[in-house]
């Protein structure tokens, strides 16, 4: 009947056996092996790339003045950290990111909640915000410089604006997506707006808001580094560009590594916070789910 003929003796009936596989016969062992393999791969792939880079620098396949060996970067970073040269820049960046992130998250959450629950507010503001959403936030830096002058103001404003849009959009769509049955149950009991928020809207929207917040955390670091390169006298972004201008490429790489570590730590922190705040929600894995 089917076009795929059985491999041997198409006429004769044979027996297909469903039997336990290795995973069923040795569940613990199979699981242990799988975990070990995953961990080994997660460690080995970056390690191999680093070793390759080290080798290339040592062998002179690449110019180690432009691409210093990982060992050079590491020891240089260590020295700078021990001498205390690195911390002012890290701290400056961290301060800006945290301040801007807090402002942007709060504003984005409030407006997203408002626009998600009240269709008139949504009608009034959505076209405007949609238009602003597509403007690259770095293009707003000159405006913020005019508004706040040099200093912390424009940096924080830029991070806040970037974060605001991520959190606003994810909050609004999360609130809109709350099944009407959830709202109806509250409404029938006569829940006040505050009770509705506290018992239904907040917990129902929180998981996707936190996904938006975690993505925003990574983007906040991305933006601050770019803006520090343009208009700041300290911070990691400034350090990276400044050391390139001075042809201190090893310092430049130290800065880049610091940014990477900062970004990962920050977004993992938000993920951890999310796990604590929403124990009922499926785990937020992945990086690209927006």
């Amino acid at each position: 009947m089917t076009t795929i003929a059985p491999k041997k003796e198409p006429e004769r009936e044979s027996v297909l056996v469903r039997r336990p596989g290795p995973e069923e016969l040795h569940p613990s062992r199979t699981h242990r092996r799988r975990r070990a393999l995953q961990l080994a791969l997660a460690v080995a792939v970056p390690l191999v790339l680093l070793l390759w880079w080290q080798l290339a620098a040592a062998q002179g396949w690449i110019d180690d003045r432009v691409y210093p060996a990982p060992s050079t970067i590491l020891s240089d970073g260590w020295d700078r950290a021990a001498a205390g040269d690195l911390w002012p820049d890290v701290w400056a960046t961290l301060k800006r990111v945290l301040a801007g992130y807090a402002l942007g998250t709060a504003a984005g959450y409030l407006l997203g909640l408002l626009m998600g629950s009240l269709s008139l507010v949504r009608a009034a503001l959505e076209p405007l915000l949609d238009a602003l959403y597509v403007v690259p936030k770095l293009a707003l830096l000159p405006i913020f410089l005019n508004m706040f002058g040099l200093g912390e103001g424009p940096q924080i404003a830029l991070v806040a604006t970037t974060v605001f849009f991520f959190v606003w959009i994810s909050t609004m769509s999360a609130v809109i997506a709350i099944p009407s049955g959830h709202r109806d149950a509250g409404r029938v009991f006569g829940a006040s707006p505050w009770q509705m928020f506290r018992h239904v809207l907040l917990p129902a929207s929180l998981p996707s808001v936190l996904v938006g917040a975690r993505i925003a955390a990574g983007v906040a670091v991305l933006v601050i580094v770019a803006s520090e390169q343009i208009a700041a006298t300290n911070g990691l972004g400034h350090l990276i560009f400044d050391s390139r201008a001075l042809f201190q490429n090893d310092v430049m790489f130290v800065g880049i590594v610091c940014v990477a570590v900062l970004g990962v730590l920050f977004s993992e922190l938000i993920r951890l916070l999310g796990r604590l705040l929403t124990p009922w929600a499926p785990r937020d894995r992945g990086r690209g789910q927006s």
């Binding site: 089917t2 076009t3 044979s14 995973e23």
Partner: protein
């Protein structure tokens, strides 16, 4: 039971989930023999491992111990019909029914002809080019049945196929399936919550215990084939239903 060449034969079949020491035993140990052409219904309380049994038969899941032997000439003898239809919203009705044939690389012309024949048989001919979103629940489930049967499976596995339908539609589709399977005589394993459904459709009704699911009773509904939905009004039907319900209630109610 005395058949020397059963279609399906399970010995000491069990399945647990999780890793030691947190293993949840879902199924078994279970012995089961199904003759060729037999329509076997399995009823049991929620979470008793009925679906696990079906997924093992389908090859979607492996047993933890024991084995299930299927006598067949094909490496993929089974078709499965799921509770939530499992049909694709992005394929037209005809393309959905053709899906199994497409996977088996049946030439397009022949596949279309076979799909259309099944659509005709299930009263879906007018909807061949529609998308499933435009169909009612009952029609979607007919599409799922047509998709399963279009590959002419040696073994039909149905996992509570009518559970999502309303009571009237259920009855109608039960009658349709009854007529269909009596003409095809495909070996079928049919999982359901509904005793009525099991008695109307089955050559044999197996009652499963609460988790871990074992077979605690076996009944042969005493209605000769070909039967119709009219058996529902037979006094024997009611008697068998209440007998089975007495058994099942003990399992379904938390102890």
């Amino acid at each position: 039971m005395g058949d020397p060449h059963p279609k399906l034969h399970a010995t000491d079949l069990t399945r647990g989930f999780g890793r030691p020491p947190h293993v949840v035993d879902a199924l078994g140990p279970l012995e089961l023999t199904v003759a060729p052409g037999e329509f076997v219904c399995v009823v049991g309380p929620s979470g008793c491992g009925k679906s696990t049994l079906l997924r093992i038969a389908a090859g979607l899941l492996r047993p933890s111990t024991g084995q299930l032997r299927i006598r067949t000439s094909s490496p993929r003898p089974a078709a499965m019909i799921f509770q939530d239809y499992g049909i694709y919203d992005w394929k037209s009705v005809r393309a959905n029914v053709r899906f199994g044939l497409d996977v088996q690389r049946v030439p397009r012309r022949e596949a279309n002809a076979r799909a259309d024949a099944w659509l005709d048989r299930l009263g879906l001919a007018d909807f061949a080019d529609a998308y499933p979103a435009a169909l009612s629940g009952g029609m979607r489930q007919r599409v799922a049945i047509a998709r399963g049967l279009a590959v002419e499976p040696e073994l039909l596995l149905m996992d509570e196929p009518f559970a999502a339908l309303d009571a009237q539609l259920r009855t109608i589709l039960q009658d349709e399936l009854l007529a269909l399977t009596q003409s095809l005589r495909t070996t079928t394993l049919f999982i359901t919550h509904s005793l009525e459904e099991a008695i109307v459709l089955g050559d044999r009704v197996l009652v499963m215990s609460a988790r871990p699911g074992r077979i605690i009773a076996e009944h042969h509904p005493p209605f000769p084939r070909p039967r119709t939905g009219e058996v529902r009004t037979d006094p024997e039907f009611t008697a068998l239903k209440s007998e089975l319900w007495d058994l099942l209630r003990k399992e379904a109610a938390p102890a």
